[in-house]
Amino acid sequence: MGLPAMFDWNSVIREVVIGATKSDGGTRAVSYRIGGGTTLPFLEKTPKPPLIAFELCDSPQYWSPIITNYCGDVVNSPAEWAKTAGSAYGADIIRLYLTSTRQRNYSDFEAVKRTVELVLDATGLPLIIEGSNEPKIDSEVFLKCGEAGQGERLLLGTAEASRYRSIAAAALAYNHSLIAQSPIDINLAKQLNILLKEIGVPQDHIVIDPYTGTLGYGFEYSYSAMERIRFSALKGDTDLAMPMICSAVDSLSVKEVRDAEPGTRDTMAVAWEFYTGIAAAAAGAEIICVRHPDSIGKLKEAFRSLAHSKVPTGGD
C-alpha cells in the first residue's frame, strides 16, 4: 500500500556558510554550509549531521574549573587549546569566548585582534567568536574581531535586541555572519531578525540562537521554542528560516553537576551536555556547542547514526 505523504511544507531553511577555504578567499581547511532543510530534522533523504562546536576562552579564570582541570595547561593558550580541540577532541568548529574583555575597564583592543589571529593560525577549523559582555566596548571588540578574521567567514556572537548594532556593523564590514539570540521566544526571535534585516544584514548571514536553558533548567521551554521556529520556517515565515545554534552554557554549573562526587563530575557534565545536545538536534539545532571535550566524540557518534542514510545496513 505505500504510506501517504505526511507533511505539506512550502519553504526551506536558508543556508548559511561558516568558514572560508582558500578557494573562497580564506585560510580554513574546511567550511560548512548549514541550513537547507526542507522538512523536520533528519527526515530528509540525505540528512546532515549537526556540527559540534567546542567552546573555549582566552582567560580561563572565567571558565568552569571542571573544564580547566580536565584540559590542563593548554587552557592558558587559546591558540594551543583551539588546536587541541580540533586534533585531539575532534571538534568541527571552535567557539572562542573573549573572556579577557570582561576585566574592568578593558581597553587593550589590539590584544583582541592578536588573539583572534593566533587562533586562526593555530587551527584550520571555522571560528565562532564571542565578543565582549560590556556594551560600551562592543564596537571596538567586534571591529577588531571582524578585521582579524577578514575573509574567513566567521560567525560573530552574540546579537540581542538591546545590542546588535556594533556586531552587525562588524559583520557587514568584513562579510561575516552573526548569531542572533532571543530569550526562548519565537516572536522575539522573529523581531530581532527583522531588526537585523532593516539595518542590512543579509538573511543568509544569520544563525538563530533561541537560547538554550540546559536540561532541567529551562530546556523544556527551549526545546519547544526550537521546534516552533523550525515549524514556522517550513510553513513559509522567511524571517525565521535560518539555521539554529544551541549552547547550553549552564550545563556545567547546575546542581546535579556541582554536587556530583568529585570522581563522577566529568561524566555528569558530559551526560548533561550529551542529553541536551541530542534533544536539541532532534528539535532542529544544527550547531551544538559543548565545553567538555568528552562530549564531542559521544555526540559525534550519535549524530552519525542520526544522519544515517536510509539504506538498511543491518545494524549500528
Binding site: Y275, P312, D316
Partner: protein, 444 residues
C-alpha cells in the same frame, strides 16, 4: 474529523438502557465525543455504526495500561506531534534490561534498584518503570526462573522478550495475570503470539521494519482479538528511529492510517549508542523504552529529560510560595525575595548555594511568571509583597527588616518600602552576580 456529540447521538440506539454504564444515550455520546468511552460498551450497535463511530471517537493512539498495582503506568492517548500544541500526556516507561543468563543475584539487584531508586527534582520523585527480561539462554526453564526471581523481588511492570512462544508461555506462568508486555509478534508467528496474549491478557508488541507491514500486522493481530498492541519499527539506526517513529505518530494522530494508532516500543539497549537512543526515544514519541541499567549520571540526565519533555510547555512550573533556607541561616541572614517561577527559583538557588552565604529565599506567588513578566503584568506588586510577609511570618524569622529584590523589580523598590515598612535593596539583574553582590553589599 471528530464527530460532535449530537451527531454521535443520532447513530446511537436512543434506548437509554444504561447497559454502557451511562444513564442516557446522550451522556454516552458526549463521552464518546470527548474520546473518554469506547463504542464497544454499547451492545446494540451494528458493525457498520461501530466502525463509523470507532474511527472517529477513539483516541488516535490507543491508551494502554502496563502492569498492575502501584507501579503500573499508562501510555498512549497522545494527540499531537508537537508538545507546544497540546502537551504530551503519558511519559514513556523506561524498563531496565536483564538477561536470563545473569545470576539470580544480579537479576534481583536490578529489580530491587528499579523498585527503590528515586531521584527527586522540582518536588517530584522520578523513577524507572519496570524490568525487561531477555531469553538469551533460549531455554524456557531458565527464562521462567529469571522471571520468577524478578517477581519474588518486586511488583513491577515487565517486558518479556523471547524468540519462541514456548519460552514466553513458561514465563507467563509466573506473571501472566499482571499485564506484562510480550515481545514480539512477527508475520511468521503472530497467530501463536496472539493466542498467548489472549490467554493471559497481556500486551503484545508487533515488530516489522517496514511501516506498511507493521500496519497490516497490527490489523491482523487486532482481527485475532488482541487490541492492546505496541509497535516496534525495528530501527537499525537513530535515523531509522526518528523517521519511523515520527511517521507512526503523524499517520496515527491524523487518523490517516488508523492501524498505526498504537504506542511505540523502542529497544535502546545498544552498547555505544544507548544514551542516544534513550534520549531520542524520550523526545520522539516512544512509549516503552528498553535499556540496560544506566550509570547514576545517565539516570539523572535521562529522567530529567523525560520530565522536561512531558511538562506542559504552556504552563510555567511553579514553586510553592514561602520561605526557603539556603544553608542554616541565622536571624541576621539576608532575605532574597523572588518569584515562584521554578526556573528563576532553581537558578537563584544554585548561585546562592555556591556563594556559601547562608540566607533566606522569600518566594512570592506570581503564578509562575518570571520577574520581568510579573513586573510588567502587575502580578508582582507591593501589596503582594506585604501580604506575603504577613502570611509567612517573615518578621519572626529574621531580626532585621531588609529585603533584597531582583534587579528587574527595581521600579517597585520605593513602593515596597512604603507599603511594607521594610528597607529594600535592589539586587543584581542576573542571578549569576548574586554571590558577588552579597559579598560586597550585604552589611548589617
Amino acid at each position: 474529523m471528530a464527530l460532535k456529540a449530537l451527531d454521535i447521538y443520532k447513530i446511537l440506539p436512543k434506548k437509554n438502557c444504561k447497559e454502557c454504564g451511562d444513564p442516557t444515550c446522550l451522556t454516552f455520546a458526549m463521552k464518546l465525543a470527548a474520546g473518554k468511552a469506547d463504542v464497544d460498551l454499547c451492545p446494540y450497535l451494528d458493525d457498520n455504526a461501530k466502525s463509523v463511530l470507532g474511527a472517529t471517537t477513539r483516541p488516535p493512539i490507543r491508551r494502554l495500561k502496563i502492569g498492575i498495582g502501584e507501579r503500573s503506568f499508562t501510555v498512549g492517548e497522545e494527540f499531537v506531534l508537537y508538545r507546544h500544541d497540546k502537551t504530551f500526556n503519558n511519559p514513556p516507561g523506561i524498563m531496565l534490561r536483564v538477561s536470563d543468563t545473569q545470576s539470580r543475584d544480579e537479576i534481583a539487584s536490578v529489580a530491587a534498584r528499579v523498585r527503590d531508586e528515586t531521584f527527586t527534582r522540582v518536588g517530584t520523585g522520578l523513577m524507572f518503570n519496570g524490568i525487561t527480561i531477555i531469553n538469551s539462554s533460549k531455554s524456557p526453564q531458565v527464562f521462567a526462573k529469571a522471571v520468577e526471581t524478578v517477581e519474588n523481588t518486586a511488583d513491577l511492570p515487565l517486558v518479556l522478550v523471547a524468540e519462541t512462544t514456548d519460552a514466553l508461555a513458561a514465563a507467563l506462568v509466573h506473571c501472566g495475570t499482571y499485564r506484562p508486555i510480550i515481545h514480539a509478534a512477527t508475520r511468521s508467528n503472530y497467530r501463536e503470539m496472539c493466542a498467548l496474549a489472549k490467554q493471559h491478557g497481556c500486551l503484545l508488541v508487533v515488530r516489522a521494519p517496514d511501516l506498511d507491514d507493521l500496519a497490516i500486522l497490527a490489523k491482523d493481530c487486532a482481527a485475532e482479538g488482541v487490541q492492546d498492541l505496541l509497535l516496534d519499527p525495528a530501527p537499525q539506526s537513530l535515523n531509522d528511529f526518528i523517521v519511523r517513529s515520527t511517521a507512526i505518530r503523524q499517520l496515527a494522530i491524523t487518523r490517516t492510517v488508523p492501524d498505526l494508532g498504537y504506542p511505540v516500543y523502542l529497544d535502546a539497549a545498544r552498547n555505544a549508542l544507548r544514551d542516544a537512543y534513550l534520549a531520542l526515544g524520550i523526545v520522539k514519541y516512544a512509549s516503552v523504552i528498553i535499556c540496560d541499567p544506566l550509570s547514576p549520571e545517565a539516570t539523572k540526565a535521562s529522567l530529567t529529560l523525560r520530565q522536561n519533555i512531558y511538562t506542559d510547555p504552556q504552563k510555567p512550573i511553579q514553586m510553592n510560595p514561602g520561605i526557603y533556607r539556603i544553608g542554616s541561616p541565622a536571624k541576621d541572614a539576608p532575605v532574597l525575595l523572588t518569584v515562584n517561577f521554578s526556573l528563576t527559583f532553581f537558578t537563584l538557588e544554585g548561585y546562592l548555594e555556591s556563594s556559601r552565604i547562608p540566607c533566606f529565599m522569600f518566594i512570592i506567588d506570581t503564578e509562575g511568571l518570571s520577574v520581568l513578566t510579573a513586573v510588567a503584568s502587575g502580578k508582582f506588586s507591593e501589596t503582594l509583597v506585604r501580604d506575603a510577609i504577613k502570611k509567612f511570618g517573615l518578621e519572626n524569622e529574621v531580626s532585621h527588616r531588609t529585603l533584597i529584590i531582583p534587579g528587574y523589580a527595581a521600579p517597585l523598590s520605593g513602593r515596597i518600602e512604603e507599603t511594607t515598612g521594610w528597607k529594600v535593596m535592589v539586587g543584581p539583574r542576573d542571578a549569576a552576580d548574586i554571590g558577588e553582590f552579597l559579598h560586597e553589599e550585604w552589611k548589617q
